[in-house]
C-alpha cells in the first residue's frame, strides 16, 4: 500500500461525526479488535494513513503514521541494527504502530526494554472535536507542558485518534541466546527474581509447564559468561519468544476466558490461578481462572495488582479492572476534555468513557 497522509480527511470525518454526535470505532489494521468491549459505531479507519515520516538511526528516533504496519517499521529498524524495544505483539500478523501504542501492550522484553509509553516521545493526535494536536516531540528529554503523549499510550483511542507517533528506538543486541531449564513453578519464580536482581543481560524470563525460558541479549562475551552461569540448554530458540509475544503458543489456543494479571513480580502462586503462564520475570501472568471475576480481582487487588479479562470474556464482566471513585471521576473529566461529545471508542475501556 502507498504511503499517504490522510490527516485532513480523518479530521473532517471526526468533525462531521462530532456534529452528529455519531460514535466512531477507531480501527488500525484490526488485529486487536477482540481487546476491550465491543464498540457499536461507524469505523474511523487509520489503515491508509501510513508510512514512515522520518527515521534517522543516529538520532535514535523514528516517526511514522499510525497505520504503518509494525512489521514494516521493524524491518526498517533492523536494516540499521535497531529495534522497537517494547516488542509490540502482533496477534494477526498485521498490527499497526498506532494500535500498538494505543493498546499499550508490550512483549516479553518489556521489563527491560520498556512499555510503549516508555519509548513514546511524541504524538500528533486527532481529538474528539476533530482538532489536530501535537504533544511531546522527537527529542529524548522534554518536560515542556504536561506529558499528554504518554497519556495516549494504553488509552485505547478513547482520548484521541493517534495520527503520527515518534518513538525512541534502541540498538538491537548483537547476540541473543535462549536457555531452557526444567524447573517447577515456585522454584522458577524464585530463580527469575534472583536473576532480575543481578546485573545479567536479561531480555526475557518466562515460565510455562515446568519449563523456565530465559533470554539473554547483549554482546557476545557478556551473554556467554551469563549463559555459563545460568546453565540449562539452548533448546527453545527465538521461535519460542515470537510465539509468546504473538500469543501463538498452545497455551493461548483456548476458548476459555484468558486473564492478564499485572502483579508485583514476586507475588506467590494465587489461589485463583488454574493454569498460568508467568512472563516478565513474574510481573505479568496469563491465567485461566478457577474463580469468579470478582474473586480473582479481589485477590489481585489485595497484592497491589490489576486484572484484565484479555480474551473470550462474557458480555457482563468488565474487561478492565474497575477504578475507584476518585480515579473514575478523573477519567471522566479527562475524557470530556479530549472528547466532549463522547464519540471516540465510547465504552471500549470503561462504561461512559
Amino acid at each position: 500500500m502507498q504511503d499517504q497522509d490522510k490527516s485532513s480527511e480523518l479530521a473532517a470525518q471526526v468533525r462531521e461525526a462530532a456534529a452528529r454526535k455519531q460514535p466512531l470505532r477507531l480501527v488500525g489494521l484490526d488485529s486487536k479488535a477482540f481487546y476491550g468491549h465491543p464498540v457499536d459505531a461507524e469505523p474511523l479507519s487509520l489503515a491508509t494513513h501510513r508510512g514512515i515520516v522520518r527515521y534517522e538511526p543516529t538520532e535514535l528516533v523514528i516517526t511514522a503514521r499510525a497505520g504503518t504496519p509494525v512489521a514494516e517499521i521493524e524491518a526498517a529498524l533492523a536494516a540499521n541494527g535497531q529495534m522497537l524495544a517494547f516488542e509490540p505483539p502482533d496477534f494477526a500478523g498485521q498490527a499497526s504502530l498506532g494500535g500498538a501504542v494505543a493498546s499499550g501492550l508490550g512483549g516479553p522484553r518489556r521489563p527491560w526494554g520498556g512499555a510503549p509509553r516508555d519509548l513514546l516521545l511524541g504524538v500528533t493526535l486527532l481529538d474528539g472535536q476533530g482538532r489536530i494536536l501535537r504533544f511531546g516531540g522527537e527529542v529524548m528529554k522534554n518536560v515542556a507542558g504536561y506529558d499528554l503523549s504518554r497519556l495516549m499510550a494504553g488509552a485505547l483511542g478513547t482520548l484521541g485518534a493517534l495520527l503520527e507517533l515518534s518513538i525512541k528506538v534502541l540498538p538491537a543486541p548483537k547476540v541473543e541466546r535462549s536457555l531452557v531449564l526444567t524447573v517447577a513453578r515456585d522454584r522458577a519464580l524464585q530463580l527469575m527474581r534472583d536473576l532480575a536482581r543481578q546485573p545479567a543481560p536479561l531480555s526475557a524470563a518466562c515460565h510455562l509447564e515446568d519449563r523456565l525460558y530465559i533470554r539473554l541479549s547483549g554482546n557476545a562475551s557478556s551473554v556467554a559468561a551469563w549463559e555459563k552461569q545460568i546453565g540449562g540448554d539452548g533448546g527453545a530458540g527465538n521461535d519460542f519468544w515470537s510465539k509468546l509475544r504473538n500469543h501463538k503458543l498452545d497455551f493461548f489456543q483456548s476458548e476459555r476466558p484468558l486473564w492478564r494479571l499485572s502483579l508485583p513480580p514476586a507475588t506467590p502462586r494465587l489461589d485463583c490461578e488454574k493454569e498460568v503462564l508467568t512472563d516478565w520475570a513474574g510481573a505479568q501472568r496469563w491465567v485461566y481462572s478457577s474463580c469468579t471475576a470478582a474473586e480473582l480481582r479481589h485477590e489481585v487487588a489485595k497484592v497491589g495488582g490489576h486484572a484484565i479479562l484479555f480474551r473470550h470474556g462474557d458480555t457482563e464482566t468488565p474487561v478492565f479492572h474497575p477504578l475507584n471513585h476518585v480515579g473514575e471521576h478523573l477519567h471522566r473529566r479527562l475524557k470530556k476534555t479530549f472528547d466532549p461529545a463522547g464519540i471516540l471508542n465510547p465504552g471500549r475501556q470503561y462504561a461512559a468513557i
Binding site: M140, K141, N219, S221, L263
Partner: protein
C-alpha cells in the same frame, strides 16, 4: 490583596491550619518565611502567606481540604533545588513543604522497588538499596539534596538518561492527594496500572495536578563495572559527529557528555581534572554493565572516537581516575560560578544533528550581547545546558541574560527541540512555552489542569501560560520575518 488584608488572611488561615499540623509546623513570621522565598532559581523571590509542614499524609489531606474550601493557593516544595522557579511561593497562598515526609517505607529487593515518602533525598534511595546490590537510576546533579517528590514533579533527568531513562521511566507508582483532599494511587504494584496512564501525566506536572505523598521507584541491579573514556576534539563539529558515530556503532553509553572550551577551562581551573584546556570540546563517554561487556565496549568506543578525529583519547585506568574525569563535568556549574558573579543556566533539548548549528548561533548571541556563554551538553540525549555569564550588579545585565536565554530556547524550538529537557518550565520559561505550543494545545493543557483542579489552586501561574500572556508576549516579541532560519527543516 493589600498588606492589611494579607496579614488578616495570614492570621486567619494560620488559626485554621495550626490544629492540623501540631501548631508549630505552621510558619508565619517574616524570619520563618524568608528562607522559603525562592527555590534554586534565586532571581525570583516571593514571600508566601504561610509555610505549612505536614507530618503525615492525613495532615496533607486536611491542609488541602481547608485550602480548597477557603480558595487558597498551594505551592508544593521538596528540597527547593529546582532551577525553573517551580517552587516559587505564591504571595497569597501557602507553601506546602513535604520535607517532614522523609521516611523510606520499604526496600523490596524481591520486587525490585522501594516505597518512599516524597521528602526522601534521591541519593538516599540508592544508599538504602546498596546492600541489596540495587540502585535508583535517575541521578540529577542535585541528587545529594533534591527529593524524590520534586523529582516526580519535574520528571528529573541526569547524566544517565539515554540508557536508563528519566524519572517517568523509573517509577512504578505514585500516590497523590488531590486538591479536594482525596488520596489516589497512580500506577500499581506491577509494571502497569489500570486505566489511563495518570502516572505518566503526574510525572513532570510541576505540582499543578496533585500533591505527591508517596512514591514507589524501580530499583535496578548495580552494574558490575563502569568505565569512562575522555576524548579531546579540535572542533565542536567533530565532537558532535563522534557522538553520532558511537550511536551508529550500536553502542548505548550509560553517559555521554560534552563540554565546550569555556566550560573545560572553568572546570579545569576549579578541580584540576586533567582536562586538555586547548581542546575545542571534550567528550566523556561512559559504558557500564558486566565486566566482559565493559571491556569490549570501551575498546570499541575508543576506536570510534579516534576514527571520528579525536586528537586524544584517554581511558580511565582505575576508579580514582574515572572519578577525576567526571569531577570536572560534575563541577561544571560551580566552576562557571567562580569565573562570573552570576550565571543563568538554560535547559533546551535539540535533535543532536543540529548541535553545530545551535552552538554557532549561541556563539553569535554571545558576541552580540557581550555576555560570555559556556556550554555543557548531555550529548547522548541532546539536552543542552548553556550557562550565560552575567553580573547582576551591572544594571540591565540580568535582563540581557534572560533575553539571550530566551533566544536560545526559541532556537531549540526552531530546530525541532524543546525549551526544557529536565528543569521544568516553572515560572522561568513560561513565555517560551508560547513559542513551543500553539494556543489550541495550551488550551488543552489548561483543560487538563481543570480536570484535576477546577479552581486552579495548585501552583497557580506556573508551567502553562495563559493565552493572554502569550498574546502579550508575542506582541512585544516580534520576530524579524516569520522564521529566522528558513533553510532548516522544521517539524
Amino acid at each position: 490583596m493589600n498588606d492589611i488584608d494579607r496579614n488578616r488572611r495570614r492570621a486567619d488561615l494560620a488559626t485554621k491550619l495550626r490544629p492540623v499540623v501540631n501548631g508549630h509546623h505552621v510558619f508565619s513570621s517574616d524570619e520563618e518565611l524568608k528562607p522559603y522565598e525562592c527555590d534554586g532559581l534565586a532571581a525570583y523571590r516571593v514571600v508566601p502567606l504561610l509555610v505549612v509542614l505536614p507530618g503525615s499524609v492525613e495532615e496533607v489531606q486536611e491542609v488541602l481540604r481547608i485550602c480548597h474550601a477557603e480558595g487558597v493557593a498551594v505551592v508544593a516544595r521538596g528540597a527547593g533545588t529546582g532551577l525553573s522557579g517551580g517552587a516559587l511561593p505564591h504571595e497569597d497562598g501557602i507553601l506546602l513543604s513535604l520535607a517532614r515526609l522523609n521516611r523510606i517505607l520499604a526496600i523490596d529487593p524481591d520486587n525490585g522497588c522501594a516505597r518512599v515518602q516524597p521528602g526522601v533525598r534521591n541519593l538516599a534511595i540508592s544508599e538504602a538499596a546498596r546492600p541489596h546490590g540495587l540502585y535508583y537510576a535517575p541521578d540529577p546533579s542535585s541528587q545529594i539534596a533534591c527529593t524524590i517528590g520534586g523529582n516526580v514533579a519535574e520528571n528529573a533527568g541526569g547524566v544517565h538518561c539515554l540508557k536508563y531513562g528519566l524519572t517517568v521511566n523509573n517509577l512504578l507508582a505514585v500516590e497523590i492527594v488531590t486538591i479536594e483532599g482525596d488520596r489516589l494511587t497512580l500506577g500499581g504494584g506491577g509494571l502497569d496500572g489500570p486505566g489511563y496512564d495518570l502516572l505518566a501525566l503526574i510525572t513532570g506536572s510541576e505540582g499543578m495536578l496533585g500533591i505527591v505523598v508517596e512514591v514507589t521507584v524501580k530499583l535496578l541491579p548495580t552494574p558490575q563495572r563502569a568505565q569512562v573514556a575522555l576524548a579531546a576534539f579540535d572542533d565542536v563539529e567533530a565532537a558532535g559527529q563522534a557522538v553520532a558515530d558511537i550511536i551508529a556503532a550500536g553502542i548505548l553509553p550509560a553517559g555521554l557528555e560534552m563540554m565546550d572550551n569555556p566550560s573545560i577551562r572553568a572546570a579545569e581551573d576549579f578541580v584540576h581534572a586533567g582536562y586538555p584546556t586547548q581542546a575545542a570540546a571534550i567528550l566523556l563517554c561512559e559504558v557500564d554493565g558486566g565486566n566482559e561487556e565493559v571491556s569490549e565496549d570501551i575498546a570499541r568506543v575508543r576506536q570510534r572516537l579516534l576514527d571520528s578525529g579525536a586528537s586524544e583519547v584517554r581511558t580511565a585506568s582505575d576508579d580514582a581516575e574515572r572519578a577525576r574525569f567526571w569531577a570536572g563535568r560534575k563541577a561544571a556549574f560551580p566552576a562557571v560560578g567562580r569565573i562570573s558573579p552570576d550565571y543563568y543556566c538554560m535547559d533546551g533539548t535539540i535533535p543532536r544533528k543540529h548541535l553545530p548549528h545551535v552552538l554557532r548561533e549561541i556563539a553569535r548571541y554571545s558576541k552580540e550581547s557581550g555576555l560570555r556563554v559556556a556550554n555543557v551538553f548531555h550529548a547522548g540525549d541532546g539536552n543542552l545546558h548553556p550557562l550565560i555569564l552575567y553580573d547582576a550588579n551591572n544594571p540591565g545585565e540580568l535582563e540581557q541574560a534572560e533575553e539571550v536565554g530566551g533566544r536560545i530556547l526559541e532556537l531549540c524550538v526552531e530546530v525541532g527541540g524543546t525549551i526544557t529537557g529536565e528543569h521544568g518550565v516553572g515560572l522561568e520559561k513560561i513565555n517560551q512555552m508560547c513559542a513551543q505550543f500553539p494556543p489550541e494545545e495550551l488550551q488543552v493543557f489548561h483543560d487538563v489542569k481543570a480536570a484535576f483542579d477546577a479552581q486552579g489552586l495548585l501552583n497557580p501561574g506556573k508551567a502553562i501560560p495563559t493565552l493572554n500572556r502569550c498574546a502579550e508576549f508575542g506582541a512585544m516579541h516580534v520576530k524579524a520575518g516569520d522564521l529566522r532560519f528558513p533553510h532548516l527543516e522544521r517539524f
